[in-house]
Symmetry: C2
């Protein structure tokens, strides 16, 4: 069994020794440098631009302004292409913008022999603007009379909306409002707000582009080689087959690189210098302001529940701040409300409304867990507030309401095929000593107060049935009997390559060590893959690998049968061709490979490639438990102990799964306690777009992360597995919020739980 | 029809604009430099080496001597691996040699931060030798009592031999000697000698190697990515799957890069510096001395013929000088005598003997046409001498003896499936005005004398049945309906990529412009291919492309049938899905591709890959005609007019075919008139191993090359085609030899036909 083993990460030796090659390591000698000129207004128009002085800077090769670029509107979301025009992403982008929609918007680019010349020239470009009012919140942008941020669209700054209500038939009520109005139920109302936060991957977005004849190659730190190929084609108005994307190792993405970022501009720039290589790497400041971040969402929740804590009706109105460009459109806010529906589904009625608005903040897009952390922030706060109201244990309230096996979402049909959520909660509670601590932490006074808290989540695998789930994979026999594995799906630091090798080995009957993964994707030769997002890789790509592995195995056995007596019954076990009746190896893979390659009678280079389309989905589950200290006077929270317990189906590689969970917990802790992008009300400018002013926790700020699994065997997962990439980052924030409630009796509704906010609330409550 | 069109070379725009990327263009920043320390004796042993001073040079990272390398003997010939041990190439190489077998042999290597440091260190390494006698000719090396150059072998310096005699049954003679002794036949005896010449490709062998984890990547200017992978594995004693070879564009090879040259050493060196990239590029001098060259072969020919010029019996004893290492072993000399047998085959009897000997010259290996130019030098000289003896026209003598359709070689079974040789001769004779010139050029005196001459050849396609012929190919649909074509076979400047695109387009029904060839081979992902040699690419790889194209076409049509009404009959014409009954396009490839990729119902990434094994061979034919002036006093030959006429079956791309012929003619002219590697009798050192002293003709020295084709449609060629890569370089030398005979009446037997040689012979003959 190769699945379930803690095989060493295949990329570990190169990553720790510095040999692993990232985009930076592949930049060719003599590569030109591009720098982008950014706007210094948050909303308005570039009236004119004077590049005279900039062009005189020695080393400047070419300056391109927003007046020079082609006007092929293009989308940037990392969504698979839809042949249905109404489902295509909003194509509101241009390579450079005369209409400035965010502070720091891209209005010109300089190509130079070196960075110094490029930056000098950028500073010498003179720009004349016409300013317009700008909006930092959806509420302002959606207000009557607001200036449209995309006047070419007819949407009055509303990018999209999705309003869904469950069927009332047979409930005894006509409308959900009637349920809320029914006096026999308790009522809950909460107004929650999340903060705009950034992914803060180590490697800033980086790419370089060059031409060979009439084809453009872009080497890029992306999660989406094939989608980037398509978007570059759209942006430049050239055939998609004329674009080649190469994706080396990347230093993190977390969804930011699930948008096509500067690849189209970089591709365009090489066409402006005769195909010479041009590199465009963003600074950390540009990464904050000009790439993507997590949506600030306003969440208004209502619940009706009985005295036992059983939910009867729920309602969520979520309004997402999307910033200046559509990126993923309303999809993230829609996912947020879908998550709300699915987590405690068994109500008389529920209703969800998702709205996403353009504002003049920097653009918000995909970030790990895609709207679900925002959902959990509200819904898990609500559950603890209800428990408090009823004087019940928060765990008991949850256990009364969690989804069970067999639940099917009425709108998208997603089913709970397996769930160990109750066991996860039990295990987490035991580890944190829930009952004991709850008892101990009653009625505290003094400056340091202790609390325990918890929160739960569910999460789907991939994007079916919202969008297309398709992946291809290929295996090639090497001359020594080892095999190459090539997939369109990408390693982005999450360990996908290792999991893929284990899966292929399992499917064929080989050893993981004998599978060499082709880590870099090159769209010219790699099988098609949509990219790394939606925790879909072990689920959808896993399906493709399982399928190609079976095919590869069949072809090996077919050739083995040519070499062996007629009557043998063969299997492949640990890389050996085994006669199952003798129970022993009759041919090594190495000998088979040598003969297959070099036989004068019948030479076959054993290969297999196939497409796998996933038409299922499934929910994974889990929870976070925390034990904290609150310093009342300083408003600081110290996390003493924290654990996540996951039901992610069958675990492919326990050690790597644990590492994945650690990273997610850390990310969520930052969002819980300190991270927030702050915009200047007067100018619309991001005030803390750098790693000094933006408070990302470091390893010194982090507690020890405990991670546990309850394994289920999901019938729809290719190896019994469910999603694990994003879920670890969902529940730390509400668990801490609930632990603060436990410690202090104070409810928080806004993120982050910063000292400033805590002190303000404690003062309000008269606690300090 | 895509076959037969003069499509523009797909690599032309990048090659003329400097965008095409060669090994040099891919060297990573910070790459270390390796330089090889060469021996200053021609034969002997390194007794000791002192690297103390060398190691002190700033920038030196590591010095490796012949005492430090592993002792896995390995072969270097670009032959497919044989599973039969007795057919494997001679594994007489080591990475560095304590036993020095050629002047300039590799005895140590320095790895440094830069070339200056490396060269400085090389010069500071002190070496103590024990010298042995050295031999520059096979005759010396094979003489009784000669010191063995490879004492570990039991062969007394004879690398190999092949002696074949045709069956005498039914001939009326017992032995071939009886035929020669029969007084009714005329007798011919000739002692011919060819010179050792070098390929002189523009780009010297160049490679760099680095490690990722425990795998080694070598980027190399090679004709043989997959064979190089295997040989590096053998040389380092590591699994072949742990080696990855990447082959970028290369600046010529001509067979020199059909040997594995410095790739194994370079691969070993990166292991000595923790996997850091190390580059090893040879200088021009090293290319001459340490890579490969064309064999100097001594050819003793005998013929018995009747008064009509009909050959009755022929015999050839060929002895090849192989230099210090086996490289291709006896294969080239064996091919030389096979060519002798096949060109005028219909004799009562013929006998051939091929011997290849180690000497202490620099190693001789594959070079364009692999022994056949040497064969043609002797046999085509013989034919003119016989014609002169009989007072006949040399064309008439040849036409009486050439092979006809249906001829089958008694030893290897190779057949003449098609031949237009007689028509080629006719066309060439007309173009050169043969009869008129022969009449005009009779009985000349004076210093400038005119002559016409001609020579013919036959040449096989690929190596079947001598060795394995297997190739794989892959096609991948792009999202815009264009396609990628990926083959293991390599572009080495000959235009293979363009021919492959045309073939794929033809097989599928697409336009050549819509096929994007993946020019670089990367053994991790590319389908298996043996490499560029033996004029096999259009023949064997063509077969693989035809097969994969048909498969790709089937899959396209299968998907088209899903989208279209049941009763349509579909074909692919010019990239359109055509309803053959309506005679019009019903679906574009672009629309089909978009749906196939992105269909929510049935997503398929259309791909095809397959192996093709060739189990046929066929002979192509052709001739050279020349019209020259000889300056008797200066001994110079001026080529006034020259043409080649080829029967290469169906011509894939006429313009490129012509270019291929031009290059071959030029190469043969150099060998005919000026090229020769000269070794110092006293030291064994090569005296003219550089492009100043080695007289390679330039474009200024070249006449206009005329090229004509007579097309046949070979039933075994995938598109009716036969070989064309090597044949153009066979017959210019004997044609000029025969023209000199026509002009002066003087017979030459030794190459090159240099002024020195001509003047000496003219003096001997009393002509000057």
């Amino acid at each position: 069994m190769e699945i379930g083993r803690s095989v060493r990460r295949v990329d570990a030796p190169d990553k720790v020794s510095g040999k692993a090659r990232y985009t930076e390591d592949l930049v060719p000698a003599g590569c030109l440098v591009a720098k982008v000129k950014h706007a210094t207004i948050a909303h308005g128009y570039v009236v004119s631009m004077d590049t005279t002085e900039a062009e005189k800077v020695p080393g400047v090769v070419k300056i391109v302004t927003c007046f020079d670029v082609p006007k092929h509107g293009f989308p940037t979301a990392g969504h698979p292409w839809s042949v249905d025009k109404s489902h295509q992403d909003i194509a509101d982008r241009n390579l450079l913008n005369q209409h400035v929609r965010i502070y720091n918007d891209d209005i010109a680019a300089v190509i130079a022999e070196n960075t110094v010349a490029a930056e000098k020239a950028i500073n010498l470009i003179k720009v004349e603007y016409k300013e317009l009012p700008f909006y930092l919140t959806p509420q302002e942008a959606l207000a009557e009379g607001a200036v449209p941020i995309h006047p070419e669209r007819q949407d009055n700054n509303l990018i999209g909306s999705l309003c869904l209500k469950t069927d009332m038939a047979g409930t005894g009520y006509e409308t959900i409002e009637e349920v809320f109005e029914d006096e026999k139920w308790h009522q809950y109302t909460g107004h929650y707000q999340t903060a705009q936060v950034q992914h803060c991957h180590i490697e800033n977005p980086d790419c370089f582009a060059y031409m060979e004849h009439d084809r453009i190659t872009v080497v890029s730190s992306t999660q989406l080689p094939h989608i980037t190929r398509r978007v570059v084609g759209q942006a430049l108005g050239i055939p998609w087959g004329n674009v080649r994307i190469i994706k080396p190792y990347i230093g993190g993405g977390f969804g930011n690189k699930q948008d096509v970022l500067y690849e189209p501009l970089c591709a365009f720039l090489t066409t402006q210098v005769g195909g010479r290589p041009v590199r465009l790497i963003t600074t950390r400041e540009e990464t904050f302001q000009n790439t993507r971040s997590r949506h600030a969402i306003t969440l208004d929740v209502n619940a009706a529940y009985d005295e036992t804590g059983r939910l009867q009706a729920r309602k969520l109105i979520a309004v997402a701040n999307n910033g200046g460009y559509a990126s993923h459109g309303n999809a993230i806010c829609a996912n947020c409300v879908t998550g709300f529906r699915q987590i405690y589904p068994d109500n008389i009625a529920n209703a969800t409304e998702a709205y996403t608005a353009y504002t003049n903040r920097s653009t918000q897009g995909a970030m790990r867990a895609y709207g679900i952390p925002q959902c959990a922030w509200a819904v898990e706060g609500m559950m603890d507030d209800i428990a408090l109201e009823l004087g019940m244990d928060p765990i008991d309230v949850r256990l009364r309401n969690i989804s069970r096996e067999g639940y099917q979402d009425p709108f998208n049909g997603i089913q709970v095929h397996t769930t160990a959520l109750a066991e996860c909660i039990k295990k987490g509670a035991e580890w944190i000593e829930w009952d004991k601590k709850r008892e101990e932490y009653k009625n505290q006074t003094g400056n340091i107060r202790h609390g325990v808290g918890m929160a739960i989540f569910s999460y789907k695998a991939g994007v079916y049935p919202i969008a297309l789930e398709t992946e291809s994979a290929r295996m090639i026999m090497n001359q020594d009997g080892t095999a190459q594995l090539q997939v369109g799906a990408v390693e982005i630091g999450q360990g996908a390559d290792t999991a893929f090798c284990q899966m292929a080995a399992e499917a064929v009957g080989m050893k993981t060590e004998d599978i060499h993964i082709v880590s870099f994707q090159d769209t010219d030769v790699v099988p098609y893959g949509s990219g790394a997002y939606a925790s879909r890789q072990t689920y959808t790509t896993g399906g493709a690998i399982r399928k190609v592995g079976k095919l590869f195995r069949e072809r090996i056995l077919e050739y083995a049968h040519e070499l062996l007596p007629n009557n043998v019954e063969l299997d492949i076990i640990d890389g050996q061709i085994v006669d199952t009746r003798l129970g022993k190896s009759v041919l090594s893979m190495a000998d088979l490979a040598e003969t297959a390659f070099y036989s004068l009678e019948h030479s076959v280079h054993i290969m297999a490639e196939t497409t796998h389309q996933t038409k299922t989905n499934t929910l994974c589950f889990g929870c976070t438990f925390v034990d904290i200290d609150v310093d009342m006077a300083l408003g600081t929270v110290q996390v003493n102990r924290i654990c996540n317990v996951h039901d992610a189906g069958k675990i492919i590689n326990p050690q790597m799964a644990e590492a994945q969970v650690h990273g997610g917990m850390s990310m969520c802790l930052g969002a819980a306690l300190s991270e927030e992008m702050v915009f200047d009300e007067k100018t619309g400018r991001l005030l803390n777009g750098n790693l000094l002013d933006y408070k990302l926790p470091t390893s010194m700020d982090s507690p020890e992360f405990k991670c546990m699994f309850i394994e289920t065997n999901d019938p729809t997962g290719p190896f019994g597995n469910k999603s694990l990439g994003e879920p670890p980052t969902i529940t730390a924030a509400p668990a801490i919020r609930n632990a603060i409630l436990n410690a202090t009796g104070v409810k928080f509704f806004d993120l982050p739980l910063s000292p400033q906010r805590l002190v303000e609330r404690f003062l309000e409550e008269g606690l300090i």
